[in-house]
Subunit: 182 residues, 2 copies
């Protein structure tokens, strides 16, 4: 899938951070002209639609500095270097919710912002949740509040803007589509 | 919605580009400790689920340098400064597909990558499409191929990875949920 490929003429590294890095690539366009592409590299992430035995989903409220507000999201987190997404998925579920599961199923992967970033989210559904006896530790700069919500509550949170990110918006629709089967 | 708010101690601008800019904020965490947040500012974008009279959707294939591959997406584009999302939505539909509409309905807005970016996508559905007599001009560094696909074809493209971004993944689920009503 290389249709309209843009070949790199040169690539300039601008910033390398803790989570993201930024580069500017000079590229040759399909018509032979040149342009610049501003590109964020990100390690990738997972997100988990975690379903309780009452068919509720686990969500966490957390502050998102980029948006300068708190939003409600499904459990999610970045891949550590070399980590398989399914390993990250279980770890993030444990850290953010205090539940674990041996019943993870891969749903889909998607790029969140293909216009400027390479971030890919690997989305899983987890069922047959078990409460951990000893809670897993969050990252030291992470503060979240766990909630267990019904599909109706999730839809109300979309309507009032508390659910406001792409992966969670997708999760709510997915839940609606699959509610009869879970 | 300021739960777990992180107050800015200082903000350092790293890069200002054509499309995105990057800053690093020092913040005070809810427990009084400090941390750094790497933040991308983006003008925001729109995306359009454009439905033909045969209940197909319009999608465009385009190369995404960040991913180093081409993917199939619903028509989308960035807000110009001060532009209302509905105006961007009509413009991008016209530029990328050669169709226009007077029948736009707002579906939902979502943040694509709240962990590091403030990009928000405003999603619309457009019906009663009309072919433009004079095609609108794409941006000079933009190359897209238009396709008209059924829900079944869209689902096959999700399965084979040609549909691979969050807004289009959302659109396919939305279409599935609303197919009886459109």
């Amino acid at each position: 899938m290389k249709k309209f490929e843009e070949k790199t003429i040169q690539s300039q590294s601008i910033f390398t951070g803790k989570i993201i890095s930024l580069k500017v690539d000079d590229v040759t366009l399909p018509n032979g002209k040149t342009s610049k592409r501003e590109i964020i590299n990100h390690p990738g992430a997972v997100a988990v639609i975690a379903i309780t035995e009452n068919k509720k989903i686990l969500v966490v409220e957390q502050y998102r500095k980029a948006l300068e507000r708190s939003i409600v999201e499904i459990p999610a987190g970045k891949l550590e270097q070399g980590e398989k997404p399914i390993v990250t998925a279980r770890r993030e579920l444990e850290e953010e919710t205090g539940y674990t599961s041996d019943d993870f199923e891969f749903i889909q992967a998607f790029a969140t912002s293909p216009g400027f970033a390479d971030e890919i989210i690997h989305l899983y559904v987890a069922k047959n949740l078990k409460k951990l006896e000893v809670a897993a530790q969050l990252d030291e700069d992470e503060f979240v509040e766990l909630m267990e919500i019904s599909l109706e509550e999730a839809e109300a949170m979309v309507a009032d803007g508390r659910i406001f990110d792409a992966k969670t918006a997708f999760a709510v629709l997915w839940l609606k589509n699959n509610y009869a089967f879970i």
